[in-house]
């Protein structure tokens, strides 16, 4: 479907400066993935809009792309993070709703079936943990966990030094641990590490 497949992202972005249509190839490459990330964070309704918007914004700021980076994904995820931030209230509401599922049900095995109510929902305990995080922490956590970015890529996406990523990560891990504590065997693993 896409011509010029052999070109890396930076070459495409570079070409798009003088031939803007080239940018569509970047869309073809990464739209599915960005959409998936948006859908996980905001749900299917908003994800379509967000994905489209991410590429429009990316197109408009493409002259600031660091052409030394062959992979545009961290850059696109950074833009996606900002676009998603415009829907922060919707995200919060969604997380709060998903977190509530267990609260309204007796604990125990019922909780598990509730977890399976929708595969598109986050497990309540995880959703609850997300609501305890600051937006910047949530952004970082989900870039690492759902977008599979490395620390360095996440730092690039968020426009902060890697050191900031590490310290932010440390704080959010403490919060996540606290939020998940006592609910899950996960805490046992956690204690191994002191």
């Amino acid at each position: 479907m896409v011509v010029q497949e052999h070109l890396d992202d930076s070459a495409l972005v570079g070409q798009s400066l003088s031939e803007p249509e080239r940018f569509a190839a970047l869309f073809d490459r990464h739209a599915e993935e960005i959409h998936r990330y948006a859908a996980r964070r905001l749900g299917p309704e908003l994800a379509e809009d967000v994905a489209g918007e991410v590429f429009l914004v990316a197109f408009r700021v493409r002259h600031r792309y660091d052409l030394g980076r062959p992979d545009a994904r961290p850059w696109l995820y950074g833009i996606a993070t900002k676009v998603i931030a415009q829907h922060r209230r919707a995200e919060r509401r969604r997380n709060a709703a998903m977190a509530k599922v267990t609260v309204e049900r007796p604990a125990g095995f019922e909780e598990r079936s509730a977890d399976r109510v929708s595969a598109e929902s986050l497990q309540p305990r995880l959703a609850r943990a997300l609501t305890r995080l600051k937006p910047a922490e949530r952004d970082l956590l989900l870039l690492l966990a759902w977008a599979d970015l490395t620390y360095e890529e996440a730092a690039h996406a968020l426009g902060v030094p890697v050191g900031t990523v590490r310290s932010r990560l440390h704080r959010l891990r403490v919060k996540v641990r606290r939020a998940l504590g006592g609910i899950d065997p996960f805490t046992a693993e956690e204690s191994d590490r002191g």
Binding site: A47, K82, T164
Partner: protein
């Protein structure tokens, strides 16, 4: 991977695939933006050519705007005729008013002309979000056709706020010297350097240029090979001037300048080639008039508690800021700005609509005086404010101004208002894209 990360990675919710239709629509919009960026305006058929050149299949041409008509608006608006050289300082905005008519096409082949009055607030900060208000919207039939009845419904959206990036603000050009400006126009490499220079000139005119810059641009544009000069070309206000013209995709685009001062007056687009423009020859498909610019200190008062739509337009990364601030917090220092309306002394009085909200502060009860805590995003912990049962959003510093009037933020509402989902707030399309 850390366990805390892994538990989220393993628990990631499933995500459906990008719907084919939505995906095509988004892609088409992107291509439209790309082609408009290149040519200023384009015709529906062009996107098919572009797609073909790309080796891809594009089934539909969605929301492609072409050009426009009308001009009976003319008389009555003369106050803008004298244009000083407003110079916005840090934090200020250039408020620019334009009368516009342009053609549009929808994915299913319907087409028409839209006329509106557009007000843009261009921030002095080159990376600031540009706010656009379109109002007094009217839908007119395509030349030689009758107006499809459903189009009348589109007029019900009388005001549309949108945000965008990438409009050249101040200073858009480094010099008022035509020769230096010529260098600016020809900075793009590529096969069609004259075409690129023309595109860049169009782009400059869509943003803000002080009058001296407009004069310089006039001389630089007329020196581009292939640009034809015509006298007595009328803009949307009926003002006539020198038209600098070029046929782009079957439409003759003429940028009209005052014959004495070389001030930019407006743009006129007429069908030159019925095949390319898909309109009867000489039909007016595009017509604008610059109404004037002023420098203002603030944006008007939002008419929605959600505030205005904004766009994060990037900007130099500041690695030394609050390490916990998100990049958008750092990139948009003015996002925290007190939205309190004030009455800039130089706000023009002749236009009651936008200025009404500026000169008559009407504090929105839903947005009381900003809580001091809003100013320090690092201080309050969302984990705590989130637990507050009511209005967590107002209690919590939300550095990214919420989406505004034309962008519902709640998912159910978004899906219920398809027109508002058209991604309009993602930026400001140069052309309108009414759609179902």
């Amino acid at each position: 991977m850390d366990d805390e990360i892994r538990v989220f990675a393993e628990g990631r919710p499933q995500a459906g695939t990008y719907g084919e239709e939505a995906r095509e629509r988004a892609r088409e919009r992107l291509l439209g933006e790309a082609v408009r960026g290149r040519r200023g305006f384009r015709l529906p058929r062009l996107s098919l050519q572009v797609a073909a050149a790309f080796g891809v299949t594009v089934a539909l041409v969605g929301g492609v705007a072409v050009a426009l008509t009308g001009g009976e608006e003319g008389a009555g608006r003369t106050a803008s005729a004298s244009m000083e050289e407003p110079t916005p300082g840090p934090g200020q905005f250039v408020r620019k008013e334009t009368m516009r008519m342009f053609a549009f096409g929808t994915a299913d082949g319907r087409r028409g002309l839209e006329r509106n009055k557009e007000t843009k607030w261009l921030p002095a900060d080159p990376y600031g979000s540009v706010l656009t208000l379109a109002e007094d919207r009217r839908i007119l039939p395509w030349p030689g056709e009758s107006k499809p009845p459903e189009m009348a419904a589109w007029e019900k959206e009388t005001k549309r706020w949108s945000a965008g990036c990438g409009y050249p603000g101040f200073p858009a050009i480094p010099s008022s010297d035509p020769e230096a400006l010529r260098g600016v126009l020809y900075q793009d490499a590529g096969a069609d350097r004259d075409g690129n220079a023309w595109n860049r000139a169009e782009w400059l005119l869509r943003g803000y240029l002080p009058e001296s810059g407009q004069r310089a641009l006039f001389h630089a544009m007329r020196a581009i090979p292939g640009v034809a000069e015509a006298q007595g070309v009328a803009d949307a206000q009926g003002r006539t001037g020198v038209g600098l013209g070029k046929v782009v995709d079957g439409t003759l685009l003429q940028y009209i300048f005052d014959p004495q001062t070389q001030r930019y007056l407006g743009l006129r687009g007429t069908a030159a080639d019925p095949e390319g423009s898909r309109a009867p020859k000489d039909a007016v498909l595009l017509l604008t008039a610059e109404l004037g610019v002023t420098v203002v200190d603030t944006l008007p008062t939002p008419d929605s508690p959600d505030g205005f739509p904004t766009m994060d337009c990037g900007g130099p990364k500041d690695a030394t800021g609050d390490p916990d601030a998100s990049p958008s917090e750092q990139a948009r220092p003015d996002a925290e700005q007190d939205p309190r309306p004030s009455a800039p002394a130089d706000a023009p009085a002749q236009d009651p609509r936008p200025t009404a909200s500026v000169t008559q502060p009407d504090p929105d009860p839903a947005q009381p005086d900003p809580d001091p805590s809003r100013r320090d995003p690092a201080q309050s912990d969302p984990a705590q404010s989130d637990s507050a049962p009511s209005r967590p959003d107002s209690a919590q510093p939300d550095p990214e101004p919420t989406a505004g009037a034309d962008r519902p933020v709640e998912a159910p509402e978004v899906s219920a208002v398809p027109d508002a989902r058209a991604g309009r707030s993602a930026g400001e399309p140069e052309v309108a894209e009414p759609r179902e």
